[in-house]
Symmetry: C2
Subunit: 290 residues, 2 copies
Amino acid sequence: MSAHPRLSMNQATIKHASLDDALRVTAEGGYASIGLWREPVLEVGLAESARRLADSGLRLSTYCRGGFFTMPEGPDRRASIDDNRRGIDETATLAAAGAPGSTPVFVLVAGGLPDGSSDLVGARSRVADALAELAPHAASAGVTLAIEPLHPMYASDRAVVSTLGQALDLAEPFAPEVVGVTVDTFHVWWDPDVLAQIARAGASGRIATYQVCDWATPLAADVLLSRHEPGDGVIDFASLTAAVEATGYDRDIEVEIFNQEIWDAAWPDVVERTARAFGAAVAPHLRAPA
Amino acid sequence: MSAHPRLSMNQATIKHASLDDALRVTAEGGYASIGLWREPVLEVGLAESARRLADSGLRLSTYCRGGFFTMPEGPDRRASIDDNRRGIDETATLAAAGAPGSTPVFVLVAGGLPDGSSDLVGARSRVADALAELAPHAASAGVTLAIEPLHPMYASDRAVVSTLGQALDLAEPFAPEVVGVTVDTFHVWWDPDVLAQIARAGASGRIATYQVCDWATPLAADVLLSRHEPGDGVIDFASLTAAVEATGYDRDIEVEIFNQEIWDAAWPDVVERTARAFGAAVAPHLRAPA
């Protein structure tokens, strides 16, 4: 089988696969790249995961994920910052083990409002504080922190960062190779300002990763699981992808899907179906490979 | 019973009440104002509804709702525009029949993407076209069209207008007494730019109505029904209400809730519970009544 040379399988799309299974079905599916998640990596151990990634011949496109640092100062916040430092180190190790073209990108989801709090402004300011605390560590590890704005329906419980513009405002105090943004079509497609903000992100060199999946209604009862294969919903991948390409972004593009039906399917089928969906809905809007 | 003098019961909160029942329980609950919906009004007939509203002694705060005009030109679009013209006329009739202080505000929800379409930009431009077509009729009827940005989770199937800033951009070509905006806390609370956009709306005299209800997770399986009484969720009513008040907005404030549990409750209980919730979560942030 073959897949588009820039397509990367985000491991969440085959959530129940172990690291070994994920690497194997992705490589067998003709992909050249994978986005890994911390839990399955740490289950195997970092050094062993790095060896297996190297053996797979795949590039690493991102490592998912850190963040969740909206809580006020205290032991929970210290634990989160420490955990994010470890995540940064893991990203560096894995990216070094991946095939050439691997990118040391650590995806960050901000976290929601602390329990019982309505202080969105305060939670957001603590995201800025956390970035300031983590940036030196990321810089010395050569890792890019990729703040991911999540759809506003997750603003209270998962991510107080809701728009690309807001993520870029948070990134701006830092060098672009240290703090960038994740552009995920599912989260940003609705934004009236999205094309301008993609251009802004590109102009400042801050598109750390581009992720694609589709939006369809009715939303799943658990709205976290409402993501679909590109082309199975209403997102205009032509305009979004063209806007990302126009910035000069030329790295891997992940398909990251949380969807019970897809999680329940056989992994090789998902890998194949995803390559087909990407080929039909996204690839036509990419520059021809060099 | 008594309720805050600026509190208005939006009829959707007691969705299954007939017009008569809604007017009666709202007045008996000590409210001075009500926001009516078209379906129960038209069930009784417009002239008869106007008489009953007059008899109730209540003000009309808004009339809900029109819009749904994102479809391309053709018979469906003509039917929608005609229906919106009738809604404008109904608004004028009802506001004239309501107690002094009634406001002829017709709330507009844009509508989602037409079936099979991914053209968000086109759908949005057709909203602008519809406003241009309806504005002269609204102006001559003395009615304010109140564009309601809906939460981005409804962008594909209910409203391609997702932010207050976008609604204000759409309103700007028209006089503020002809095209304004609806500020509904549930839809805008997450927006990093919301306070600035409320100030902008106020500066241009475009806050046609302020509606309050709360956001809590997990969202209902039908995300339309995820609205809660003020104080039962995470929205910061202090900052939003203070921002609206700071613009000089001094008219009625509606509580509009779609929630199965509330719809299943006895109407007088809902009316009382809503007055209490408003008194605790919103009223402390209002100027003292003159």
